[in-house]
Symmetry: C2
Amino acid sequence: MSAEPFRIGLLGHGTVGAAFATLLAERAGQVEAITGLRPSISGVLTRSRGDFDEILAGCDLVCELIGGTEPAGALVLAALDRGKPVVTANKELLAARGRELFDAADDKGLDLYFEAAVGGGIPLIRPLKESLTGERLSRVLGIVNGTTNYILTKMSEEGRAFDDVLAEAQRLGYAEADPTADVDGHDAAAKCAILASIAFNARVVSSDVFREGIARVTTEDIEFARRLGYVVKLLAIAELDDDRVAARVHAAMVPASHPLAAVRDAYNAVFVEGPNVGELMFYGRGAGGEATATAVVGDLVTVARNLQAGTRGVGCTCFLERTIRPMAEHRGQYYILLRVEDRSGVLAEIAGVFAESDVSIKSVWQEGAGDDAQLVFVTHRAREDAFQRAVDGLRELRAVEEVRSILRVEGEE
Amino acid sequence: MSAEPFRIGLLGHGTVGAAFATLLAERAGQVEAITGLRPSISGVLTRSRGDFDEILAGCDLVCELIGGTEPAGALVLAALDRGKPVVTANKELLAARGRELFDAADDKGLDLYFEAAVGGGIPLIRPLKESLTGERLSRVLGIVNGTTNYILTKMSEEGRAFDDVLAEAQRLGYAEADPTADVDGHDAAAKCAILASIAFNARVVSSDVFREGIARVTTEDIEFARRLGYVVKLLAIAELDDDRVAARVHAAMVPASHPLAAVRDAYNAVFVEGPNVGELMFYGRGAGGEATATAVVGDLVTVARNLQAGTRGVGCTCFLERTIRPMAEHRGQYYILLRVEDRSGVLAEIAGVFAESDVSIKSVWQEGAGDDAQLVFVTHRAREDAFQRAVDGLRELRAVEEVRSILRVEGEE
């Protein structure tokens, strides 16, 4: 007795697409045992080969592994329009046009799965959407970009400068020739938007996410962080503030004792917090064709089972209309490094500026003397706009020769 | 328009049962939004109240939160027999009689979900069963018992003895009055059996799991471990060796740089390894009524959706007939601490015994002199039976006054 076929139209055949095709062939027997369907790739679309209409007509499911917003977006919408469920690993597309895609899938009653879009092979989306339905999550905090974590790890452990490590990462293939998407936080912001959407049943797009990259992090910052008991990481943070969603991506000092501080090299980890579950962490390699392909296969097994049963997975229909909290209203802790005149009264002047802006100082530390006199401040929690006002005030002070560096501090209570 | 009811028969109303009832009431709206069904508890069975037959007749799903093998086992089987899907948090029952229960659920085409049985609120079972279907997992390695991890953490960080910390843990309610289930590794072995079953599609029961507890771990062992760069943890390990399953629970030295070494107090963490995903880790509070209740709610949402769709979740039918590898064939590294005569030639005699048994020494370290002369050995990987033979040989040596301690070493390659 031969199982019915399950025909997959594969869009894209790059690193992830090729790894997916290999893994699927390897695991076809297991997939068949679970679903009762025999999976096979019925057509492949790349820039140079394949006819999209033919592929669509001859498949039961579309696997979109092209990446980028176009032409992937148009192809996914066309697939849904023709009644085909979709599995995608496309974070940019989901973060930019998720609402449109989810609505299209809902209209047609079709599955749209995307476990591979965040954290590569780390199961994240499904635990958040399904296992944690019983929890009212309050916060998601993670290292979701392997390239920047690799760079920051090397800077921290080998004392090397950003440009130097970046160049090496590019040589080794860990960073793209154009590293902007990673280094400036665009990749992390897309993942942050997706995590925020899933965790809080909200519609959050990339442009809702406050974003700063790591290009301005210096070895000096990392050294000060170390001395103060912190490690510098690029974090993606999504929080619920009353009923508003706050989402941001930026470098931050994290206490060395925090589990995220131990996440090194190209590894990813996502912390999830809620009143009942406390803190959960999901950790693993966040990228790589093979790891990502396992997530795609996991999704397609579920879609195949749903098709067999004539149903679909947890839909995208229960989004709440949440507003986005502006970054100005964020309350956080800050580290600020100033080069200052070396004379008496300077600290009092600076403290006065902080006080006027309602920013209270947690610790201050003097370094060097004379032309090299520097002051390092770590604040208590303060509003972002108040802190920025304070920084503007400091820049106008004669005593402050240079605002050398500002970093956020996360993970302390 | 009012949603159809979804009636839950709740068996057991202890810590988890009560937390579940509270959480369900709190999240009923969310559950209804996702499933289209309005959940409510239609009956509660405890030792002193409730009629099981009435509860069964009046419910759509049974939630078994009693714990222990009986009467829970008979009740779950009766529920399945009457056509009711079951959600359970009962690790003892699943680890002892899982096969019988899964077969009963399969025969009736019913859901049997048990996310809460391992790792409390940490999503583990579903990621292993569903998200990682695409992976051929090779190993699961975890800290799955919070009580023993709390005890070992206190012993390590405060240099206190086992009995002392255990007594404190009992006073604080972190350990039971009868601590056997935790301290002797029974609880961890049950969870290990479940993890092995899920990860390897095998039928592994508690009695298949090699088991040693932590009662013989001394502060001296922990101190030696620290000096050698290790931390002592109680580990549950399930591995695939060719097509055989090996499952064991025992204290082990773990390199201080290993992510599991940083899992402190009552936290749990499970490492999962496979050729494609590499290493994944799931971390969180492994117990507690509220955390466990979130897993139960997550399961019942899925069962409710499956019922609505007239389907069931990934069944339990694709178990492979795997055999269990005997512990004698295990290959591992060992730490052994000997009190020895302080004279020349002793090391050569001991090394001779190891060599005769095919156990090769990685490092040796002498401590003290005279009556206090001690030798610490760490071996390379050796077969368990060979190592035990070597230990028997050492015990017969006149030069060896006492085999003070033996610990396994894990997490090194």
